[in-house]
C-alpha cells in the first residue's frame, strides 16, 4: 500500500515537471494562423467576388432606381417606400460599403497581387482598371461627389477626401485610357479568362467597353465643358456596337446563380409580381408612340390597356404590372449596351459635339432603335418583324426636325431602351430632362430625386463627408 502512495507521489512530481515544461511553450504565436484562409492567392479568384457583388447591388439592393427613373412604380412595402424616396438606411450602407469594400478593395488587391507576385501580367491590371472605372461611374451617378483620388488606400488616406464629380469622371476616363493602353500592347502577359464573368478574357471586348464607358462619361462632361475633340476621337475607336459585344453579367438558371430580382419574386411572391407596377411617364410616352415594346415591358391592366402610376400614389387596381418576361432567372445585368452607344453618339452629333450633324445623328438614332427592338429576338417578349417595321417607319427623319426636337426623339428612345436599367435611365433624365417626371405623392419631396444621401456608416466615420447634401441637390453635370 505504502508503495502505491509513493508511486503516486513520484507520478505527481513528474506531472509537475511536465507542467513546467509545457509552461515553456514558445509556440504561442505559431498557433495564431487561421487554417481556413490564405495569405496569398492567384488574383483571378477575386474577380468573381467583385463582379457578382457589384451586380447584386445594381440588381436588387438598388432596384429602387427603376422607381427613381419612373419606369417602375412600387405599390407597397419597401417598393412604395422607394417610390416615395424612403431609401432605407441599411440599403444605402450596403450599396456604398459593398462597392467600396467588396468590389473596389478586392480590385486593388488584384493589382497588388499582380505587382507582387507576377508583375508581367499587365493585362490583368488593364481588366482591373476598366472594371474599377465602371464601378466608380456607378458610384458617382448615384452619389455625385465621392472619394476617388484618395479612396481605397487606407494606409495613406484613412479618411479619404471627396472629389468633385468632374474630377471623378475625368479620373474614370484616365482609367479607361490606361486600361486600353495596356490591353492594346502585345505583351507576354496572362489575362483573366474563366474568372472574367463579363468577357472571358476577350481583350478587344474590354477595349470596346472601356471606350463605351469613356463615351458615356464624356457626354456627362459635355453638359459642362467642351469635350468635343475627345468625343470626336472616340467615333473611330472600337465601341460596343452589337448585342453580342455588350458588357453584362449573365445570370443563369443554375441554382444560386439566378438573377436576384427573379429570386426575390420567387421567394416572396411565389413567382408573381406583386408590388412592381408601371410608372406613368414611361407608359404615357410609349402609348403615344404606340410602342410595340409595351407588351414586352408590361402587363395589360384589367381594362386591357397599359396604364402607369404617378410615383408615391395609392390605388393600383387599374395599373399595369411589370411583365414577368423582364424578370427571369437568366435575365442579365446589362452594364453597357450597343443601343446605348448609338443613342449617345446620336446625341453627340445632334448637339454638334461631333461632326455629321442631324444626318449622322439620324443614322445612329435608327441603329439605336433597331438594336433596342432586336434585343428581344429569340427570347420571351420578342417583337414581331411587322411591329418592328411599322414602328421604325413611324419614326421621323431627324434631319427634318429642329435640333431640340431631334434630341427629344433621341433621348426618349434612349430612355425607353433603358427599361430595367434604372441607374442609366435615371441619369439620362438628370442629364437631358427629356421626359417629364413627377414629384412623388405622399413623399414630402418638392423635387425629383437626384442622388442618394451619404450612408450613415461612411458619414459617421469619415469627417470629410460633405454635409448639407440632400436627395434633391442636383448633380454637378446637370444643365
Amino acid at each position: 500500500m505504502k508503495n502505491i502512495v509513493l508511486k503516486i507521489k513520484y507520478a505527481f512530481l513528474l506531472v509537475l515537471i511536465m507542467f513546467s515544461l509545457n509552461a515553456c511553450d514558445s509556440e504561442l504565436a505559431d498557433i495564431n494562423v487561421n487554417p481556413l484562409a490564405a495569405t496569398s492567392i492567384p488574383p483571378d479568384l477575386l474577380f468573381p467576388e467583385v463582379i457578382v457583388n457589384f451586380s447584386s447591388v445594381r440588381t436588387i439592393e438598388f432596384a429602387g432606381w427603376n422607381m427613381h427613373a419612373q419606369q417602375w412604380c412600387g405599390s407597397g412595402g419597401t417598393w412604395r417606400a422607394r417610390s416615395r424616396y424612403i431609401l432605407g438606411v441599411p440599403s444605402l450602407n450596403n450599396g456604398w460599403t459593398g462597392w467600396y469594400t467588396t468590389c473596389l478593395k478586392n480590385l486593388s488587391l488584384v493589382e497588388l497581387l499582380v505587382e507582387t507576385d507576377k508583375p508581367q501580367n499587365q493585362y490583368i491590371i488593364g481588366q482591373s482598371k476598366i472594371l474599377e472605372g465602371f464601378i466608380y461611374s456607378n458610384l458617382t451617378q448615384v452619389w455625385g461627389e465621392i472619394p476617388f483620388t484618395e479612396a481605397v488606400n487606407p494606409v495613406l488616406y484613412p479618411f479619404p477626401k471627396y472629389d468633385s464629380q468632374e474630377t471623378v469622371m475625368e479620373g474614370i476616363i484616365t482609367l479607361m485610357d490606361e486600361g486600353v493602353a495596356i490591353l492594346e500592347q502585345d505583351l507576354d502577359s496572362d489575362i483573366i479568362t474563366d474568372s472574367d464573368l463579363i468577357f472571358k478574357g476577350d481583350k478587344q471586348a474590354w477595349i470596346r467597353w472601356a471606350n463605351s464607358i469613356k463615351l458615356k462619361m464624356l457626354m456627362f462632361l459635355a453638359n459642362k465643358k467642351d469635350v468635343s475633340s475627345r468625343l470626336q476621337g472616340l467615333v473611330s475607336s472600337p465601341l460596343i456596337f452589337t448585342k453580342n459585344q455588350e458588357a453584362k453579367l449573365a445570370y443563369s438558371t443554375t441554382i444560386g446563380n439566378e438573377n436576384q430580382r427573379w429570386r426575390f419574386i420567387q421567394r416572396f411572391w411565389g413567382g408573381n409580381i406583386n408590388l412592381w407596377f408601371a410608372g406613368k411617364p414611361l407608359v404615357d410616352l410609349m402609348n403615344n408612340l404606340n410602342d410595340p415594346r409595351l407588351a414586352t415591358y408590361f402587363d395589360l391592366n384589367r381594362n386591357n390597356v397599359y396604364e402607369g402610376k404617378v410615383q408615391g400614389q395609392n390605388g393600383f387596381a387599374n395599373i399595369s404590372k411589370i411583365n414577368v418576361n423582364n424578370i427571369l432567372p437568366d435575365s442579365p445585368d446589362r452594364f453597357s449596351t450597343a443601343s446605348e452607344t448609338y443613342f449617345l453618339l446620336a446625341d453627340a452629333a445632334a448637339n454638334g459635339y461631333i461632326s455629321g450633324g442631324l444626318a449622322q445623328a439620324n443614322t445612329w438614332f435608327i441603329e439605336g432603335v433597331q438594336l433596342a427592338l432586336d434585343y428581344f429576338d429569340g427570347s420571351l417578349g420578342e417583337i414581331s418583324q411587322t411591329d418592328k417595321d411599322t414602328y421604325m417607319a413611324s419614326l421621323p427623319d431627324l434631319t427634318t426636325l429642329t435640333t431640340a426636337e431631334a434630341l427629344d426623339y433621341i433621348n426618349d428612345q434612349h430612355y425607353i431602351s433603358l427599361f430595367g436599367n434604372g441607374l442609366e435611365a435615371w441619369n439620362l433624365w438628370k442629364r437631358t430632362k427629356s421626359v417629364d417626371f413627377d414629384v412623388p405623392a405622399n413623399s414630402g419631396a418638392v423635387d425629383v430625386i437626384r442622388r442618394y444621401t451619404y450612408p450613415t456608416n461612411e458619414a459617421g466615420s469619415n469627417p470629410n463627408t460633405p454635409e448639407g447634401v440632400t436627395i434633391e441637390t442636383p448633380m454637378w453635370f446637370e444643365k
Binding site: F12, L16, N34, F47, V89, V152, N153, F268, T456, E458
Partner: protein
C-alpha cells in the same frame, strides 16, 4: 500537448478510484452538537480539521460527526461567530457553544484560482450568494437567480423566450467593443459563458442563450462575485470583466440522500393594454365593397366594433365584427417549470474520502405554444485523502439540454411572432388560424397577409428553432504537502460543449416560399492546467503566505453550418434535398500562458497586505509584443481590532483599499492579411446567391484591416471600502467606491468604407467607470423562534467614454433599424441615438429644444438623428427580507432599477396600428397638437394652430417607428422577483417518518412590475443578447413570464 493532458487525465482518474478504497488506522469518530449562546442549535457551522481541507458542517439540529485522529485540532467556524479550536483528546464527543463575535465577520471566501482566504483579510469587496438563496424560487438559469441579491452587477434578461440569454455586467462596461461578460470559474475551472447565436442579432435574431445556464443551481454551495480587478488579478488578461466563482457542494459526514422537486406555472407577466372598441379599417371606415380587405386594412383604425359590421376573415369566411379582448392572452399558453433534483452525499473512510453525486432534470414548457426546454444535469464531486500529505479531488459535471421553440426577435423575418400577434385586429377570433396548413402539407391556410405576414400558428407549428447542447466540464486536482507549511497543487480543468442549432422555414412560409433550413454545429473546448505552490508560515505577529504558480489555458472553437434553400421534400432537412447550399466553417484557437505570484502578509490579524503579480503570454498578439505584466496590491485594516474598540454598539470596523492593473488580449487571427473563400454573395431581401458562379470560385480579402502592431488592452482599477458592524454585528454595512479606466482598447473600428475596409483593428480610446456600492445586513429580530433578516444592496455606476481617436463622432456598439443605434460619443455614457421630432433652429443653427415642428397637416415629422439618452440605470437596488418563525420561512426579494432609457418597437406598432388603449381615447376629436410650431420658411416659427386631420394620422406620425424619440421611455421599474414560503418539519414531527428532513414550500418568481413609465411591455428586455454590447432596445420581444408554484425537499 493534447496527448499529454489526456494521459494526465487518465492517470488522475485512476488515482481517484484506486485510492478511494484506502483505509487508515489510528482513527477516531468524533461527534457532538453545536449551539449558540441562547442554546439554539447552530446549523451550518463549519468544522475543519486544522491544516487540511477536510471537515464537515452541522446539520439542521446542530449535530455533526467526523472521523479524525487523536491530537488533531478541530476548527469550528461560522459567520459572525468566534472561531474556536478544540484539540481532540480521549473523548469522542465534543459539544461547542458558539459565541457571537463582536470583533469579526469572518468567513472563508474562495478567491481567484480557488485560493481560500479569510474575508477579514481581503482588501477588496466581494459578494457571495449561498445555496439557500437559489432555492427560494428556483430558476433554471443561475444568473436569473442572482437578480436583486448582490451589488455591483447588472443583470438583464432577454424577455420571455425559454433558454434565451441573461446578460450580466460587473461594474459597468469596460470596453466598447468585444466581450464585457465576466469569467466563470466552477470549482477552480474556467468555463465558457459563450452566447451562441445564428444569423443576425437583429433580423429575426434567434438567441440560444449563454452557456452559464448549464450550471445546476442545486449543485451550488456558494457563488462569489469578484468585482474588481484586484480581486481577479491572478486571472491576468481575463480579469478585466470581473470573475464569478462557483463552488459546488461536497459530501460531508454521514450519507444523506436528498430529493427536491419544484413545480411552477408560468403566464405572461405583462401584456399590452389594448383598446377593444374599434375594428380594422381606415379613418373609421371598413368597406369591402370599396376594396377594403382584412389583410390590407389597418388593424385598429376602423369603425366601432359595436356597430356590428361584417368582414371576410383570413380564411375567407364572412364574419360579424365582435371584440375578442383576450386574443393575445388566449394565444399564449400556460407554461410550466418542473425541476426534480436528487443527490447522494457523504463521506467514507471516516471522513477521509467524500463524495456527492447529484442529478437534476428540469422541463419547462414556455408560454409560447410548442416552446420547451429540457435539461439534464449530472454532477460528481469527490475527494480523497490519499496519505498524510497527499489529497485529491475530482469533480465532473455533465449537462444535456434541448431547446425547442426559441424565439425570433427584431424584424424582417417571417418568424418574428410578437409583431404578428400584437397587430391582429381586435375582432380576430384565433380559431380562424386553425388549421394552418393544407392537406398537401405545403400550402399555408389563412395567412394574415399573403404578401407579407404568416398565420401565427404556422410559425409556431411549422417553423422550428431548436438547439441541442451536450456539455462536460470538470477538474482533477492533487494537493501535495511535502513538508510542513508548503503545499503544491496541480489541477487539470476541462470544459467542452457541442451545440447544434437548427432553424427552418417550412416550404410555404411567406417570405421564404421555397422553404429553407439553417444548421450550425459549434464545438468548443477549453483546457486549463494550473500549478500552484503555497508556503504558509507564522513569524511572531506576522502570518505570511507566499504563492507562486503557472497557468496554461487553451480555447478552441470550431463552427460549421449551412444555409440550405429551396426544399424539395418539405420536411427533409438534408443538403441533398435543397436547391442551394451555403456552407460556412470557422475555427479559432488561442493560448494563454501565465506565471504568477501572490504574497499575503498579515500582522496581528488586523492588518493584511496582499500583493499579486502575473505575467501573461498570449498567442493572439504579435510575437515579441505578446508578453505583459499585471500587478495588484490590496490592503485590509481592521481598525476596530487595531484600536481595541470593543463596545456593544460598535462592534467591527475595517477599511480596505486596492489598486490593480490588468488587461486583455484579443481574438485569434487578427494580425494577418487573409484571403477567404466565399460560398455566397450578398443579396438584399433574402436573395443571397451562391458561388461557384458560372462555375467560378470566389475569394475575398478581409473587410477588417488587420493590425500587426496590436498591443494588449490595459485596465487600471482603484477601490476603497469600509465594513462596519454594529450591535454585535446584527447590523452591518459594507460600502465600496471604485474607479476603473480602460485604455488601449482593441477595437474593430468602423472606418470609412471608402478606404476600402469596413473596419480596422486598432488600439484606441479610454473608457472609465466609477461607482458606489452598498450592502447592508440587518438581523432585525433575533429570537429563539422568531427571526427577521433584511439584506439591502445599492449600486450606482457611471460609464464614460473619455477618449476616441480621430474622426469618430459617434461610435456604434450595436445598431438596430432605421438609424437607431446604441452608441457613444466622447465624454458621454453609452446611449441610444436615433431620429427625433423635427424642431425649430435658432439663428446659429442650434436646435430649440421645446419647439417641436409640425407640417401643414398639423402633424409631427422626423428630424435629425441625435442622442436620445443614456441606456444604463442611474442606480439599482435590491431588498431581500427573510422572516422565520419556528419551521416557517417567508422570503422575498425586490429589485429596483432607476433611470436609463429604452426604445420599444412594440409600443410603436401598437400605437401606429390603433390597437393601443390610448389610441381609442377621443378618436373623433381633432385637436391641435399642443406646444408645436410651424416653420414659416423664412427662419421664423409661429405657434401651430392647425388641428390634426385625424387621430389615426396623429398616432401614425407621432409613434412612427422611424421617429425613435417618441418610442423611447424611461426604463425605470421595480420588480417583485421572488417570494417563497416554506415550512420545515422538525425532528419531532419526523420521528415516525423515514425522512431526516422535510420541507414544503410555495414559491413565485417575477410576480409583478411596479413604478414603470414604459407602457405595454416589461422594460426588462433586450434585443441583442448577452454576447453583444447592445442594450436598451426592444424589438418585438416576447412578453416575459411570471411563475407561481410549489416545492418539496426531503432528505433521508
Amino acid at each position: 500537448m493534447k496527448t499529454n493532458s489526456r494521459k494526465l487525465f487518465i492517470l488522475f482518474l485512476a488515482i481517484q478510484f484506486v485510492t478511494i478504497k484506502f483505509a487508515f488506522s489510528q482513527e477516531k469518530n468524533i461527534s457532538g452538537t453545536v449551539t449558540d449562546e441562547e442554546g439554539i442549535p447552530a446549523a451550518g457551522v463549519n468544522i475543519i480539521l486544522k491544516g487540511t481541507s477536510l471537515g464537515t458542517q452541522t446539520d439542521f439540529d446542530g449535530n455533526y460527526a467526523l472521523t479524525t485522529k487523536q491530537g488533531e485540532t478541530l476548527v469550528f467556524s461560522y459567520l459572525g461567530m468566534k472561531t474556536q479550536e478544540k484539540i481532540i483528546g480521549s473523548s469522542s464527543v465534543i459539544n461547542i457553544t458558539m459565541i457571537s463575535d463582536t470583533q469579526a465577520l469572518d468567513q472563508v471566501i474562495v478567491t481567484a484560482l480557488g485560493i481560500e482566504r479569510s474575508e477579514k483579510t481581503l482588501g477588496y469587496g466581494v459578494s457571495t450568494v449561498k445555496a439557500e438563496d437559489f432555492n427560494v424560487a428556483r430558476e433554471t438559469d443561475v444568473l436569473q437567480g442572482l437578480q436583486g441579491k448582490i451589488s455591483g452587477v447588472q443583470i438583464t434578461g432577454q424577455g420571455g423566450g425559454l433558454g434565451s440569454s441573461t446578460k450580466i455586467t460587473i461594474r459597468g462596461l469596460t470596453r466598447i467593443s468585444g466581450d464585457n461578460s465576466p469569467l466563470w470559474v466552477v470549482d477552480g475551472v474556467q468555463i465558457s459563458d459563450n452566447n451562441d447565436f445564428s444569423g443576425s442579432r437583429i433580423t429575426g435574431a434567434i438567441d440560444y442563450g449563454n452557456r452559464a445556464q448549464d450550471i445546476n443551481p442545486d449543485d451550488i454551495e456558494s457563488l462569489t462575485v469578484l468585482k474588481g480587478a484586484s480581486a481577479a488579478a491572478l486571472y491576468g488578461s481575463r480579469a478585466s470583466n470581473g470573475v464569478i466563482i462557483v463552488n459546488t457542494k461536497k459530501g460531508k459526514g454521514k450519507t444523506v440522500v436528498s430529493y427536491s422537486s419544484v413545480v411552477r406555472f408560468d403566464s405572461p407577466l405583462r401584456l399590452p393594454d389594448f383598446q377593444n372598441t374599434y375594428g380594422p379599417g381606415g379613418l373609421g371606415i371598413y368597406d369591402e365593397n370599396n376594396g377594403d380587405t382584412i389583410q390590407e386594412a389597418s388593424a385598429g383604425w376602423g369603425p366601432a366594433i359595436s356597430n356590428g359590421g361584417t368582414y371576410t376573415d383570413y380564411a375567407g369566411n364572412s364574419q360579424t365584427f365582435k371584440s375578442n379582448p383576450d386574443l393575445q392572452k388566449d394565444f399564449y399558453e400556460l407554461g410550466s417549470t418542473i425541476v426534480q433534483s436528487f443527490s447522494i452525499a457523504g463521506s467514507s473512510n471516516k471522513g477521509l474520502n467524500d463524495y456527492r453525486v447529484s442529478t437534476s432534470y428540469s422541463t419547462q414548457e414556455g408560454i409560447l405554444p410548442g416552446a420547451s426546454l429540457d435539461r439534464l444535469n449530472i454532477g460528481l464531486n469527490s475527494g480523497a485523502q490519499l496519505s498524510d500529505n497527499l489529497s485529491s479531488r475530482f469533480t465532473m459535471k455533465y449537462v444535456n439540454s434541448s431547446l425547442e421553440g426559441a424565439i425570433a426577435q427584431g424584424a424582417n423575418d417571417p418568424n418574428v411572432l410578437t409583431s404578428i400577434i400584437n397587430r391582429l385586429p381586435r375582432t380576430t377570433d384565433l380559431s380562424v388560424f386553425k388549421p394552418w396548413i393544407a392537406e398537401n402539407g405545403e400550402d399555408q391556410l389563412a395567412p394574415v397577409n399573403a404578401d407579407g405576414t404568416n398565420n401565427p400558428y404556422w410559425i409556431v407549428n411549422e417553423n422550428q428553432r431548436t438547439s441541442d447542447t451536450e456539455r462536460f466540464f470538470g477538474n482533477i486536482n492533487l494537493d501535495f504537502t511535502p513538508v510542513k507549511n508548503l503545499s503544491l497543487l496541480g489541477r487539470v480543468g476541462y470544459d467542452t460543449y457541442n451545440t447544434k442549432h437548427f432553424s427552418n422555414n417550412h416550404k410555404g412560409t411567406i417570405g421564404r416560399l421555397d422553404g429553407e433550413y439553417r444548421d450550425n454545429f459549434i464545438s468548443r473546448q477549453e483546457l486549463t492546467l494550473d500549478f500552484l505552490t503555497t508556503y504558509d508560515n507564522t513569524f511572531g505577529e506576522f502570518d505570511v503566505t507566499l504563492r507562486g504558480g503557472t497557468q496554461w489555458n487553451q480555447r478552441t472553437v470550431e463552427r460549421s453550418g449551412n444555409l440550405a434553400v429551396g426544399l424539395t421534400i418539405p420536411e427533409l432537412f438534408d443538403p441533398g434535398n435543397v436547391d442551394s447550399n451555403s456552407p460556412t466553417k470557422s475555427f479559432s484557437q488561442k493560448r494563454i500562458l501565465g506565471v504568477f505570484g501572490d504574497l499575503t502578509l498579515t500582522y496581528k490579524n488586523w492588518l493584511s497586505l496582499n500583493a499579486t503579480a502575473r505575467n501573461d503570454w498570449s498567442s493572439t498578439l504579435p510575437k515579441g509584443a505578446n508578453s505583459y505584466f499585471y500587478p495588484s496590491i490590496a490592503l485590509s485594516f481592521i481598525f476596530s481590532d487595531a484600536l481595541g474598540i470593543e463596545s456593544n454598539i460598535f462592534s467591527y470596523g475595517k477599511l480596505r483599499g486596492n489598486w490593480a492593473n490588468v488587461g486583455s488580449d484579443t481574438d485569434p487571427y487578427e494580425l494577418d492579411f487573409l484571403y477567404t473563400p466565399q460560398t455566397g454573395f450578398a443579396g438584399q431581401f433574402n436573395t443571397r446567391g451562391t458561388f461557384p458562379f458560372d462555375g467560378q470560385l470566389a475569394f475575398s480579402g478581409p473587410n477588417t484591416l488587420p493590425n500587426v502592431n496590436l498591443r494588449p488592452e490595459n485596465q487600471t482599477n482603484y477601490e476603497v471600502g469600509i465594513e462596519l458592524g454594529f450591535f454585535k454585528n446584527r447590523f452591518t454595512i459594507d460600502a465600496t467606491y471604485y474607479r476603473n479606466v480602460t485604455t488601449d482598447q482593441i477595437i474593430d473600428l468602423l472606418v470609412p468604407s471608402s478606404s476600402g475596409y469596413s473596419r480596422s483593428t486598432v488600439n484606441l480610446g479610454k473608457i472609465s467607470n466609477k461607482g458606489f456600492e452598498l450592502e447592508v445586513g440587518a438581523k432585525i429580530i433575533r429570537h429563539k423562534d422568531f427571526k427577521w433578516n433584511l439584506n439591502y444592496n445599492f449600486s450606482t455606476n457611471e460609464t464614460i467614454v473619455d477618449e476616441f481617436g480621430q474622426g469618430i463622432d459617434v461610435y456604434t456598439l450595436a445598431s438596430s433599424f432605421g438609424g437607431l443605434i446604441v452608441g457613444a460619443s466622447e465624454g458621454e455614457s453609452i446611449g441610444l441615438y436615433g431620429n427625433r421630432f423635427a424642431r425649430a433652429v435658432d439663428e446659429d443653427g442650434n436646435t430649440i429644444e421645446d419647439q417641436i415642428l409640425v407640417n401643414s397637416n398639423g402633424l409631427r415629422f422626423e428630424g435629425e438623428n441625435e442622442r436620445l439618452g443614456d441606456i444604463f440605470p442611474d442606480f439599482t437596488m435590491g431588498l431581500t427580507s427573510v422572516f422565520s418563525y419556528k419551521g416557517w420561512r417567508l422570503s422575498t426579494t425586490f429589485d429596483w432599477k432607476e433611470g436609463g432609457i429604452m426604445y420599444s418597437n412594440t409600443v410603436s406598432n401598437l400605437r401606429v396600428t390603433g390597437l393601443a388603449e390610448e389610441t381609442a381615447v377621443d378618436r373623433e376629436t381633432l385637436f391641435v397638437d399642443p406646444n408645436t410650431f410651424i416653420d414659416n420658411g423664412d427662419g421664423t416659427y409661429s405657434p401651430n394652430t392647425t388641428p390634426i386631420s385625424s387621430v389615426q394620422e396623429y398616432w401614425s406620425s407621432f409613434s412612427a417607428s422611424r421617429i425613435h424619440e417618441s418610442n423611447v421611455f424611461d426604463a425605470t421599474y421595480i420588480k417583485w422577483r421572488e417570494l417563497g414560503l416554506s415550512y420545515t418539519f422538525n425532528k419531532e414531527q419526523l420521528k415516525k417518518s423515514p425522512f431526516t428532513s422535510l420541507r414544503l414550500g410555495l414559491q413565485g418568481r417575477n410576480l409583478a412590475i411596479f413604478n414603470t413609465s414604459v407602457p405595454h411591455i416589461d422594460p426588462e428586455t433586450n434585443l441583442f443578447g448577452a454576447g453583444s454590447n447592445g442594450a436598451g432596445i426592444e424589438y418585438n420581444g416576447l412578453p416575459s413570464s411570471k411563475s407561481i408554484g410549489f416545492n418539496v425537499q426531503v432528505k433521508f
